[in-house]
């Protein structure tokens, strides 16, 4: 296992269900949505401790099945995960930058709301609709926010751009005509070290007029 895999928990070397820690024999009121290896599925109950699991994620309206450790973040699955069919998930638009829920580079939408993918466990993303920057465009038709970013040249190095675009789209989902102050608040969880903020704010205004 490489060091990177060790750190991020993308490689599964064992399946380890800690039995008897929970109250697996007590009537379960919540059925876990984790899909567990077939031979173990019958035994695993709500309340059991899960170390690894095979989970299904709805990302950009496509279902992926990935094996994860409990500690694996959603961001790790997006960038480094492998579907059980053998294909890499390979959605690298969300960036791994601060890895502490501060910079906004990893912003994705979960059920339409912006979240930091680096601070969400992958197992918590089951049953939710995940939208990454790759899922905003409709084929070759860019999302209005993406078009407006190009029109206003709202980037320099571009590394923070996917996060800003997802945050902008999430903002416009719930507020069709934001004021400048509302745009600033809506994008306050993203950081641009190049300082392109005025262009980004203009782009969001332009996008809001087109949506």
């Amino acid at each position: 296992m490489s060091d990177k895999e060790k750190k991020q928990g993308t490689s599964i070397s064992r399946r380890n269900f800690l039995k008897g820690v929970g109250t697996g024999t007590v009537a379960a009121t919540v059925v876990p949505s984790v899909l567990i290896g077939s031979e173990e599925a019958a035994e695993a109950q709500a309340g059991d401790a899960i170390s690894t699991a095979t989970i299904q994620l709805n990302i950009n309206e496509k279902m992926y099945e990935v094996e994860v450790e409990a500690r694996t973040t959603l961001l790790t699955v997006l960038r480094d995960g492998t579907d059980t069919s053998g294909d890499n998930v390979d959605l690298t638009g969300a960036k791994l930058i601060c890895d502490r829920g501060e910079c906004g580079g990893c912003t994705v939408m979960v059920d339409g709301k912006s979240v930091y993918a680096c601070m969400m466990l992958a197992i918590d993303a089951q049953g939710k609709k995940i939208t990454t920057v790759e899922g905003l465009a409709n084929g070759d038709d860019l999302h209005p926010v993406q078009e407006a970013f190009i029109q206003h040249d709202a980037l320099m190095c571009g590394f923070c751009t996917p996060g800003f675009i997802v945050s902008s789209a999430a903002l416009l989902n719930e507020n069709k005509k934001p004021t400048l102050e509302e745009i600033k608040t809506g994008l306050s969880g993203n950081t641009c070290r190049c300082g392109t903020y005025p262009f980004i704010f203009d782009a969001v205004k332009t996008a809001s007029r087109k949506m």
């Binding site: 750190k7 928990g9 380890n16 800690l18 820690v21 929970g22 109250t23 007590v26 379960a28 009121t29 919540v30 876990p32 709500a46 309340g47 059991d48 401790a49 899960i50 170390s51 450790e69 409990a70 500690r71 973040t73 890895d99 502490r100 829920g101 906004g104 912003t107 979960v110 709301k113 912006s114 979240v115 930091y116 601070m119 969400m120 466990l121 197992i123 918590d124 945050s167 999430a170 903002l171 600033k184 608040t185 809506g186 306050s188 969880g189 993203n190 950081t191």
Partner: protein
């Protein structure tokens, strides 16, 4: 992050029974995870097991009725910030909620997590430093870098409590419901928080096998004005350098009652009975409001780098009082 296993909670009874099997740190609770995952990533905490509270039914939601408000511990901070009743009748809470962190954090962070979050002190958050908060001998802020540390109630640990919601809720007279193995109990939120002199390792009275499940707020009195003023180092999201939650029952410019609770200046949300006394029954003007601010910080003991917080706090209190009178 170190490896951990994950248990989806099925009932409060199950959660408290699991928690009773260990002391602090081995089995931990996770809801939004925005504070806890940061601690695990920094190796400040290395729990063997996390219990996922989000699968517990009926613990998220806001109920408003004639008796006041009930907010489940799993309610997100964003839901609190957007709730129309909270915006109109408990303004201080809505303002505090929207001042928390960033949209991405507010969308997943919960009320319970906000109240139980751990300090942001840079010595505490450094895995290589065994400070007084982590069973060491020294609070390094005393002789070290103390720009963001406590000016009130610090001795012997000079962290500040990072919650914005807590000062607002205490100013509104909130109570907190706690469930443990022996059942549930309710206490005032003011008494929930503790100072380091009582216990340097924790910030509240929770036992290792207890969990916060709900906060209740009494009905707002008529003619009440309330504000949350938060001073930050930058315009973008940040923890409070100092904040003031003020709830004022007014009769014109005369203050009938005042609740003043400070954030960012003490290891617990800091109720200033001195400022409240200076305002109660008074016609509020510039000199009365400044007096209230000065009374609140008369016992402040700043460290090397944070004397600015004394003036800042005084002015925030004064400004809140002037807003109540205008």
């Amino acid at each position: 992050m170190e490896k951990f296993s994950y248990i989806n909670a099925t009932s409060l009874k199950q959660v408290t029974s699991l928690l009773s099997e260990s002391g602090w740190g081995e089995i931990m609770l996770i809801a939004g995870g925005t504070d806890l995952l940061g601690e695990i990533k920094e190796y400040v905490e290395s729990p063997k097991t996390l219990i996922n509270l989000k699968t517990l039914p009926g613990m998220d939601g806001i109920e408003a009725d004639a008796s006041g408000l009930k907010i489940g511990a799993l309610t997100t901070i964003d839901d609190i910030a957007r709730h129309p009743t909270i915006q109109h009748h408990y303004t201080v809470l809505a303002q505090a909620a929207v001042s928390v962190a960033t949209p991405q954090i507010r969308n997943v962070g919960t009320l319970g997590g906000n109240l139980c979050q751990r300090p942001r002190c840079w010595y505490y958050r450094d895995e290589t430093i065994n400070c007084l908060k982590k069973s060491g001998d020294i609070c390094y802020a005393v002789d070290g870098l103390s720009k963001y540390h406590a000016i009130l109630g610090g001795d012997p640990v000079y962290i500040v409590h990072p919650s914005d919601l807590a000062p607002a809720l205490i100013a509104l007279g909130a109570s907190v419901k706690i469930v443990g193995p022996e059942g549930e109990k309710t206490m005032s939120l003011e008494e929930f928080f503790t100072l380091p002199a009582d216990n340097p390792f924790r910030e509240n009275v929770l036992e290792p096998n207890e969990i916060v499940v709900e906060v209740t707020i009494p009905q707002a009195k008529p003619n009440t004005k309330s504000f949350y003023l938060k001073a930050r180092e930058k315009g973008a999201p940040d923890f409070a350098l100092a904040s003031v939650a003020g709830v004022f029952e007014m009769d014109g410019k005369t203050c009938k009652t005042a609740s003043i609770v400070l954030g960012g200046v003490a290891p617990a949300p800091w109720r200033s009975r001195e400022a409240e006394a200076a305002l109660t029954g008074k016609m509020i003007d510039e000199s009365v409001s400044m007096r209230a601010g000065a009374d609140a910080v008369q016992d402040a003991q700043p460290l090397n780098d944070n004397a600015y917080k004394v003036t800042l706090t005084q002015n925030l209190i004064s400004r809140a009082a002037m807003m109540a009178a205008s």
